[in-house]
C-alpha cells in the first residue's frame, strides 16, 4: 500500500461518497420541506437515495468516465505539452558541463503539489483503515443482533393454530408465518426471512381488536419483506459505517416505513383508522419501560 492507492481511493471511493452525501442531503432536505407530505413518497425517495450509494460507487468503479479528458484508445497517453528539451545540436549555448566531482544528489526540488499529493494519499489510507475498523465493529453488532433474535425464537409460545390462521389470513402472504407470544416483550415485533416470526406481547392476546390490528401491521411488514430490507440496510450501514449520512437516511427510512405500514393498515377493509390510532396510543403508553437501542 502506498500513497497512490490512497489517491485512487480518494477518487474512486471517498469523493463519490462525499458527493453522494451532499446530494442526498440536499435532495432529502427538499423532499422533507417542499415535497409531498405523503410518507410513501418519502419512503421511496429514501430507498432510492440509499441505493444510489452502492450502485453509484459500483458504476464509478466499473464504468470509465465519459467526461475524462486526455483519453484515447491506443495512443500513448501523453499530455500534449511538448517538453522543452535541451538545446539543439547546433546551439552554441549549451549548458556548461558540471565537473565530475563532487557529485551531489539533488533531490530537493520535489514539487510541493506532489508532497501534498503524497500526504493526502496517506491520509486517505488512514481514513480508509478507520472506516474498515468501524465497519467491522458494526458488522459484529449486526451478528450480535442476529444471535439475539435466534435466542428469542426459543423463548416464545406459539398461538393455537386456529387463532394463528385467523390472524394471518387477513393478508394472503405466501411466506410461512409463525405467530407467537411471550411476556418478555411489551410491543409486537416481527423478524425472520423467508420464514417470518411475529412475536406478540402475551397481554395483547386478550384484546382481540388490538391483536388483529397489530398482527395486520406486522403482516404488512412481512408482505413487503421489510425484515430482509432491514437486514440489507444494516449491512449497508456497516459497510459505510464511517459515513454518517447513510445512517441518518436509514433512520428516516425506518421511521417512514412505519408510517407507510400504518397507512396500509388504515386503508385495509374493515379497519377504522381511529381504532388503529387508539391501539397505537395504548401500545405506546404501556411500554414506558421499553428502551430499545435501535433505529426503530
Amino acid at each position: 500500500m502506498n500513497a497512490g492507492l490512497g489517491i485512487t481511493l480518494l477518487y474512486k471511493l471517498w469523493l463519490p461518497m462525499l458527493a453522494w452525501a451532499f446530494l442526498a442531503w440536499v435532495l432529502w432536505f427538499f423532499v422533507q420541506n417542499y415535497g409531498t407530505r405523503h410518507p410513501v413518497f418519502r419512503y421511496h425517495a429514501l430507498r432510492a437515495l440509499i441505493l444510489l450509494l452502492p450502485i453509484g460507487l459500483l458504476a464509478v468503479l466499473l464504468i470509465p468516465s465519459p467526461f475524462s479528458i486526455n483519453r484515447s484508445a491506443n495512443k500513448v497517453e501523453i499530455t500534449s505539452l511538448p517538453i522543452i528539451v535541451s538545446p539543439a545540436l547546433s546551439t552554441p549555448s549549451l549548458p556548461a558541463p558540471v565537473p565530475p566531482s563532487p557529485p551531489q544528489p539533488n533531490i530537493q526540488n520535489l514539487p510541493p503539489n506532489f508532497v501534498w499529493r503524497s500526504a493526502i494519499g496517506w491520509s486517505i489510507l488512514c481514513l480508509t483503515a478507520l472506516a474498515i475498523i468501524l465497519g467491522l465493529i458494526r458488522f459484529a453488532q449486526l451478528f450480535k443482533e442476529h444471535y439475539a433474535l435466534s435466542r428469542l425464537k426459543d423463548n416464545v409460545f406459539t398461538l393455537p393454530p386456529d387463532i394463528e390462521k385467523a390472524l394471518t389470513h387477513a393478508l394472503e402472504i405466501p411466506q410461512n408465518i409463525v405467530v407467537t407470544h411471550t411476556k418478555s416483550v411489551e410491543t409486537a415485533l416481527t423478524f425472520g426471512w423467508p420464514e417470518a416470526y411475529i412475536v406478540l406481547p402475551t397481554a395483547l392476546i386478550t384484546d382481540a381488536e388490538a391483536l388483529r390490528l397489530v398482527t395486520l401491521h406486522e403482516l404488512c411488514h412481512i408482505r413487503h419483506h421489510d425484515f430482509l430490507q432491514q437486514y440489507l440496510l444494516r449491512g449497508l450501514d456497516a459497510v459505510f459505517a464511517i459515513n454518517p449520512m447513510i445512517r441518518y437516511l436509514i433512520l428516516h427510512l425506518e421511521a417512514e416505513r412505519e408510517l407507510v405500514r400504518d397507512k396500509e393498515v388504515a386503508c385495509h377493509p374493515g379497519v377504522s383508522p381511529s381504532i388503529y390510532a387508539t391501539t397505537l396510543y395504548k401500545i405506546a403508553t404501556t411500554q414506558d419501560n421499553l428502551r430499545t437501542t435501535s433505529y426503530t
Partner: protein, 381 residues
C-alpha cells in the same frame, strides 16, 4: 430486557407517536398516477446523480496535467533532467496485468512494463554518489532488483540504464523525434514490430517520461556529471562489407598517443572501447569537428559517419542514443587530404576486388585505412 434492534417493532420509543397518529389522521390516498410520477421523478433524479458521480469521479485526474506545471517550472532549467511521468502504461506481474492506469502505480509492485507503441525509450536511474547498481540490461529489457518485486521494463527499442540509482526510482526518457524512415534499415531487428505501430510511435513531439514511486518524482541532477562515452566492440562497415572489431580494433590509449592527428588529442578526450554498460545511459550528441567528419547519422544502434572517403558505418553491440544534449563531439581521424586520397584509392581497389572475389575483399579492404580507430571527444567549452 434488551430488545434486538434488528427486529421490526410495531412501536418503539424511538418513534414519534404524534407523527404516527397524525399520519393516520391525514386521509391522503396514494393514487396510481402519483405513484407513476413519483417513480419517474425518482428515476430521473437517480440517473442525474449517477451520471454526475461517474462523470466527475470516474477517474483520478491525469497526473500529467498536474505535472505539466511542475515540468515547466524545473525542467527547462536542466537539459539533463528527464524525470517525468510515464503514462498509459500497462503493468504486469508475470502474466497478470496489475495496472493499466495512465498515471499512478506502485513501482514496487510492477512486474513488467511493456513499452510497445511508445517509441524510443531510454531509462536512467537516479545516480547517487553512494548508490549501488540495481539494474541490469538484458537485451531490450531492463531488469531491476526492486525491494519487493523484480521490475522489468520492456521496450521494443533501445534501452540504456544508468546503473546506479535510488532503488525504487526509475527515470525514463522517451524521444520520439526520430523519423520512421531512419528505422527502415532495422527491419531485421524489429521485424516483429508492426510497421504501423512503429510509425505511430516515431511521430509527434518529444516527451519526457519517468516512472516514479507513485506520485513522487525527483529531478535528476540539475547538472549531472557526464561519464565518458565508450563504444564497445564496434565494427566498421564499408557499404555491405563488415569489418569485425578483431581486425581493426587497436588498444585505444596507445593509439591515441601514437597518432597525433591534426589536433591535439589528450588521453582524457579519448574514450576507451570498454563496455558502455559500465556507464549506463549516456546522452550525447554528435557534432563534426571543424576539420573532421562531415556528417553523422544515428539509426538505432548504428552510427553512420559520412566521411570524405565513403560511407563509413560504425556499429556497436551496445546501444547508442542520440539525444538533444549535444555535449559530445566526435571526429573521424583520417581527415587529412593525404590520407583521404590514399584511402580513396584503396577503397576503389577494394571495390574492384570485391566485385571479382567477394571472399577476397576482407583481406584487402582492411588495409584501406579503415583500421583507424574512431575517436570521440567532449566538446571543449
Amino acid at each position: 430486557m434488551r430488545y434486538p434492534t434488528l427486529a421490526i417493532y410495531t412501536f418503539s420509543p424511538a418513534q414519534n407517536l404524534k407523527t404516527r397518529l397524525q399520519n393516520l389522521a391525514i386521509h391522503q390516498t396514494y393514487s396510481p398516477r402519483q405513484k407513476r410520477n413519483m417513480i419517474i421523478l425518482l428515476t430521473i433524479t437517480s440517473l442525474i446523480i449517477l451520471v454526475s458521480l461517474i462523470g466527475f469521479f470516474g477517474d483520478p485526474p491525469k497526473a500529467s496535467t498536474r505535472l505539466q506545471k511542475a515540468q515547466t517550472t524545473f525542467l527547462p532549467t536542466d537539459p539533463y533532467a528527464s524525470a517525468m511521468v510515464f503514462t498509459n502504461l500497462s503493468c504486469w506481474v508475470d502474466q497478470k496485468k496489475v495496472c493499466g492506469h495512465p498515471t499512478t502505480f506502485n513501482v514496487n509492485k510492477i512486474g513488467v512494463i511493456y513499452l510497445l507503441d511508445i517509441g524510443l525509450v531510454t531509462f536512467s536511474l537516479q545516480p547517487f554518489a553512494d548508490a549501488k547498481p540495481i539494474g541490469t540490461v538484458q537485451g531490450k529489457e531492463l531488469a531491476l532488483n526492486m525491494p519487493n518485486t523484480p521490475l522489468r521494463l520492456t521496450s521494443q527499442f533501445d534501452i540504456l540504464v544508468k546503473a546506479q540509482g535510488k532503488p525504487n526510482l526509475v527515470y525514463v526518457k522517451q524521444d520520439v523525434g526520430y523519423k520512421i524512415e531512419r528505422l527502415l534499415g532495422l527491419e531485421s531487428e524489429y521485424k516483429n514490430t508492426p510497421f504501423r505501430s512503429m510509425a505511430s510511435s516515431f511521430s509527434g513531439n518529444q516527451y519526457t517520461f519517468a516512472i516514479s514511486d507513485i506520485n513522487q518524482y525527483e529531478t535528476l541532477y540539475t547538472a549531472r556529471p557526464k561519464p565518458g562515452l565508450t563504444f564497445s566492440r564496434p565494427t566498421i562497415q564499408l557499404e555491405n562489407l563488415v569489418i569485425p572489431p578483431s581486425i581493426f580494433m587497436a588498444p585505444t590509449q596507445s593509439v591515441s598517443r601514437n597518432f597525433p592527428g591534426t589536433f591535439p588529442i589528450e588521453d582524457r578526450n579519448i574514450l576507451s572501447l570498454m563496455g558502455l554498460e559500465a556507464y549506463g545511459l549516456f546522452q550525447f550528441s554528435l557534432h563534426p569537428f571543424k576539420n573532421a567528419t562531415q556528417s553523422a547519422q544515428v539509426e538505432g544502434n548504428r552510427l553512420r559517419v559520412q566521411t570524405g572517403v565513403g560511407l563509413l558505418q560504425i556499429t556497436t553491440s551496445e546501444n547508442i542514443l542520440l539525444t538533444e544534449t549535444g555535449t559530445i563531439w566526435f571526429t573521424f581521424i583520417p581527415s587529412t587530404s593525404h590520407r583521404k586520397d590514399e584511402i580513396r584509392r584503396q577503397q576503389a581497389t577494394c571495390r574492384e576486388e570485391l566485385e571479382k572475389t567477394p571472399t577476397f575483399a576482407e583481406q584487402n579492404c582492411r588495409i584501406g585505412g579503415f583500421r583507424m580507430p574512431v575517436y570521440f571527444e567532449r566538446r571543449k567549452l
